[in-house]
């Protein structure tokens, strides 16, 4: 493979624009690729390739004088990201779609294509660091995106480059301004790229998978942990564990969502302490080294921006990893990822399957 050629996944945002620019500066033959992940002229935003974002990526590529291609991967995205996302909500879980997109789309199919295109490396604008096939948290802890990248293995990591992983966001922006890149002051996309207006409910509801399986969209009781009905809800899909707003009014202490039971169309709420738990089980574990670890200690992060907390883990008979935190954690949420760290290094991670105690 051509070790001087690098494919850069350019979303049309400032981070991947700067990633491309830095690689050009380093003397690589840089080839920009923008993925169109939603069919036709759908209005997505962020990294899923809306017409406006594609236009921005094209403008930056032309400013940098690099080759650029647009690739459609809408079917793969539907299959590997959107469907599991909808299924997760219908199960009463809270999914982490970006991790799936990274695994199957960006560092799955696109990495494969970059191999066929004779490129030694694939780069993105993610905030994370890779060194000798190992994955580390970003320099800028505020921007660290390893929570969405934990499921990469050595096959991927040895071919990945994250050029902005050593920079802070302000540094990235000022670099982009200095080069006059069109995307220098483009606002951040915080939301999930394929959901317009944060309307998860509307999205899940209108997805064909929901038909016949739409318990999560039906109204039902809000109960406390002892089973007493406190009010009604319009569908468990509207709730996530640990959430406070949107609950029964009139009760003196604020209530928090403790558990979702979409099969019985029930939302279970409780006091703040009742959202705390210490033990959970993780499925679909992957390890960045490629070598599974059956038991040990690690810092475990249970949601984006959650400060990784010390925990012990061991593999159980069902092949799940049982994690016991040294101290109880708030709102451990099925469907979210549990990401394992040793210091700055990412060891791996999986999906939170069940909260045990």
């Amino acid at each position: 493979m051509n070790q001087k050629r690098v494919i850069v996944a350019m979303s049309g945002g400032v981070d991947s624009s700067v990633a491309a620019a830095l690689l050009v500066e380093q003397g690589f033959e840089v080839i920009g690729v923008t993925l169109q992940l939603l069919p036709g002229a759908s209005t997505g935003f962020g990294c899923c390739g809306s017409p406006a974002d594609i236009a921005d990526a094209v403008a930056v590529a032309s400013r940098l004088n690099i080759s650029h291609y647009v690739i459609t991967m809408d079917e793969l995205f539907e299959d590997k990201v959107i469907r599991p996302f909808v299924e997760s909500y219908l199960r009463g879980d809270t999914p982490n779609p970006c991790a799936l997109c990274n695994r199957f789309v960006k560092f799955g199919h696109l990495l494969g294509l970059s191999e066929a295109w004779d490129a030694g490396f694939l780069a993105t604008g993610h905030y994370a660091r890779v060194k000798e096939g190992k994955l580390y948290r970003a320099q800028d802890e505020n921007k660290d995106q390893t929570y969405f990248l934990y499921n990469l293995g050595p096959r991927e990591l040895f071919r990945l480059v994250f050029p902005v992983g050593d920079l802070s966001k302000p540094e990235v922006r000022s670099y982009a301004r200095r080069l006059g890149l069109e995307t220098a002051d483009k606002p951040e996309s915080q939301e999930i790229c394929f959901i317009p207006n944060r309307d998860y409910r509307g999205f899940v509801k209108s997805h064909p998978l929901s038909s016949g399986l739409d318990f999560a969209l039906k109204s039902g009781p809000i109960k406390d942990v002892s089973g007493r009905e406190l009010g009604r809800h319009q569908g468990t899909v509207d709730y996530t564990i640990g959430q406070r707003k949107g609950l029964v009014s009139g009760s003196h202490a604020p209530k928090y969502v403790v558990r979702l039971d979409p099969k019985n169309q029930t939302v279970i709420v409780g006091e703040k302490e009742e959202t705390m738990s210490s033990v959970c089980e993780i499925s679909d574990m992957t390890w960045t080294s490629g070598n599974p670890i059956a038991q040990g200690q690690a810092l475990v992060r249970i949601r984006h921006r959650h400060p990784p907390a010390p925990a012990h883990f061991s593999l159980n008979k069902e092949g799940r990893l049982r994690v016991r935190f040294d101290s109880p954690q708030r709102a451990i949420t099925p469907g979210q990822s549990a990401v394992f760290y040793r210091g700055e290094e990412v060891l791996g991670g999986g999906m939170i399957k069940e909260v045990i105690e």
Partner: protein
């Protein structure tokens, strides 16, 4: 510019050196408006009329006055389709338009607009070889029919339609017949008299002229509403003539006509390309059974996405395409292959290879040489089910 083997002449052709020579005076002193009375204007006018004669000769038009210059093949198609539709509706109330299912996007995109204006659109399908179902097309012609339009050769597959037969019936029934000959002009002999067409579109850059000039043949006596109003081109197309583009078109038309006798060269390359590609497993040739342009091959490579494959070829130094070139560089599934009834995975894996005036044996060899390697590599990483 990069040094790549270029095998995408159906997208566009390199500019001919003779064209560059012929237009250069018009980049300097030959700037005058061809409609101006003074002598330098007359000189430019003469160059325009010479170009018109050359285009008329390429198309077999009896009278150069039947050639109207446009900005492109797309504009010629628009001028024919809108122009004939609106004129017929006004003159005779006819509001039915019959087209094939494999027309170029510049035709297809007009259909919903005409439909919204009250026209009835009838689309005729094609068989698995890409040949139009002329039986059902002819049956669809009735007293409400304003226009029938069938392309002479398809841009993606190169399949040549039996337009002579359709045109004859149209004439008998007093219906206008238009053909988009953008891909066929200069590649196969073309004679508007023998074909019996009333309207025919061509494009300059496909012949090795410049982008930005095309022409519409309008048979004497055929009336159209002008798409662009103005006094130029005998009121048939307004706007000061694109002198450089038209001069270039004339030169390229003359050269293309002379080169029609070279078709053996193209056929030989086509055979080499097809033998080479078909020797790989699970590759099929689309439209291979019917009459085809000598320069075009359309393959379905099972198990890959044609657009990603075309990128792989580009990065391996060969320009080919996954279908028709479109504005954004995005691939959308080919309506042509869909109309031919191909399954989805074969439509996705489409690859078009087309040769032209500057093609060399080395370029063809290079493509054939890299083909198995590129395809195997793509297949090994592809997620399209084989």
């Amino acid at each position: 510019m990069l040094e790549s083997a270029y095998l995408d002449y159906n997208a566009t052709a390199p500019i001919r050196p003779e064209v560059m020579g012929a237009v250069s005076p018009f980049l300097k002193d030959g700037f005058a408006n061809p409609n101006s009375p003074y002598r330098i204007g007359q000189e430019v006018r003469r160059a325009l009329e010479l170009a018109r004669e050359r285009v008329a000769r390429l198309l077999g038009a009896k009278n150069p006055g039947e050639i109207v210059f446009t900005s492109s093949g797309s504009e010629a198609n628009s001028a024919a389709l809108y122009g004939a539709a609106w004129h017929s509706l006004q003159q005779s109330g006819r509001n039915k338009i019959i087209v094939s299912a494999v027309e170029h996007e510049s035709m297809r995109e007009i259909l919903p607009i005409l439909s919204s204006q009250g026209f009835k659109i009838y689309e005729t399908g094609v068989d698995s070889n890409g040949l139009i179902d002329d039986g059902s097309l002819l049956e669809a012609i009735d007293e409400r029919t304003a226009l029938v339009s069938v392309m002479q050769a398809n841009n993606e597959t190169g399949v040549i339609q039996p337009i002579e037969k359709i045109a004859a019936v149209c004439r008998e029934r007093g219906v206008l017949f238009h053909s988009d000959a953008v891909q066929s002009a200069g590649k196969i002999p073309l004679d508007v008299e023998t074909l019996g067409v009333d309207l025919l579109s061509i494009s300059g850059h496909k012949l090795g002229a410049l982008k930005g000039a095309g022409a519409l043949y309008i048979r004497n006596g055929v009336k159209l509403f002008p798409l662009i109003a103005g006094l130029q081109e005998k009121r048939r197309r307004g706007g000061t003539e694109n002198v450089i583009g038209i001069v270039a078109l004339g030169v390229a038309a003359q050269l293309s006509l002379a080169e029609l006798s070279n078709s053996q060269r193209y056929l030989s390359w086509r055979r080499q390309i097809e033998d080479g590609c078909l020797s790989a497993s699970n590759v099929r040739l689309n439209g291979g059974e019917g009459p085809r342009l000598p320069n075009t091959s359309n393959f379905s490579i099972e198990g890959v996405d044609g657009h990603s494959l075309a990128i792989a070829f580009d990065l391996a130094g060969v320009c080919v395409s996954s279908g028709s070139a479109c504005a954004t560089g995005l691939s959308s599934p080919s309506h042509v292959l869909r109309a031919m009834g191909l399954p989805k995975n074969l439509i996705k894996g489409a690859l078009r290879v087309s040769t032209g005036w500057r093609t060399t044996q080395e370029e063809v060899d290079r493509f054939i040489e890299v083909f198995p390697r590129v395809v195997n590599k793509m297949r090994s990483v592809s997620l399209v089910p084989a």
